[in-house]
Symmetry: C2
Amino acid sequence: MIRINRELLDFIGKIAADESNNFISQHNFSPKKIVIEQGDKIEFVHIIKSGIAKCYLTNEDGNIFIQEFFGEGVIFGEIEMFNEDETVCAVESMTDLVIYKISRNNFYKLLEENPQFNRLVLRALAAKIKFKAIRYSNSHLNPIETNLLLLKKQFPELFKTIAKPDIANYLGVTERSLNRSIKSLREKKLI
Amino acid sequence: MIRINRELLDFIGKIAADESNNFISQHNFSPKKIVIEQGDKIEFVHIIKSGIAKCYLTNEDGNIFIQEFFGEGVIFGEIEMFNEDETVCAVESMTDLVIYKISRNNFYKLLEENPQFNRLVLRALAAKIKFKAIRYSNSHLNPIETNLLLLKKQFPELFKTIAKPDIANYLGVTERSLNRSIKSLREKKLI
DNA sequence: CGCGTAATTGAAAAGTATCAACACTGGTGG
DNA sequence: CCACCAGTGTTGATACTTTTCAATTACGCG
């Protein structure tokens, strides 16, 4: 549920450690800080070094849909870079967060000159697509309780790590409905 | 709604026309034929030359969720290639369909040796992610009628081109609910 | 203790699914 | 030319699920 990308993190860690280039800068965020605003033009690709962030979209009515929770090694901002477009989602820190940033030019340079990085980015994009495909089909095909149970199995510390409204917005239901499902599952001794 | 990718189609068309290589083969399907089965191991990347296909996922109960409708130039099977994984979705022709196929080895060779192709694939993946992000947040944040209206605006020939059950499975609702929404929108003179 | 934030609950309203019946359309064969 | 059939689309009634909204409780911390 909180996706990670260890191979990308390792790779970037090595490049960042190599002081002969200054491709990569590092930035710190305390919890609940906006890393990227929805509708921004962005000039950097971001990769999470440590911590957790949420990636979410707000509509005209102020309703929120959480796309993903980002963990270590997850890359973001790359979509907008390729499409030369404004950000679709906002990204906000949920814990203390350390982020690697790579400028547009350096990102393209790395992509062209480093086949390993190129492959890692392709794989990261593919993983995002697969994740979304499965997540969304589940959320449409299953009732809330089933989805919640799935989540809890994949990520047992769910309720300790993630606040209720976030879980609700991730499942695409109201907090009330989430609570009803939790209660019902507890009564059935399923969680 | 039916995504296309003209720049990729043009590029592939040129390579296919160049008879000095035999990277790319071409295949024909009549309507309602399975191009890729859910759970397959696949050894080819596919790109649509002409026609429309649907990409969908079936769960244990036989319920269907349509991920996307593929139009000209859309690439598929690449996700599974990068992840060395089984197909998540099935792909089925909705019209007469012509498909370019590229073997795993040739696909990787092209990716490595042809920066333009590499860029096109990165962009195609990014476009898929963006599409899914917007589509799914809409479908969670809006009621059926709003989503249907959106669809109809983006794609006026909706009802002529796509069968009711497919529209319903794309929106993630039953046919009954879809019909109720259509009727209601017609009464309001919105479609 | 008291305050602010987060979590929980109840009741009514709205939305959606289920199931079963009915209508329309374009062939096909008697 | 009509009867029939299969596939597709439409509708009604009811049950179920989810949201809405407002009120209540629990928790952490200065």
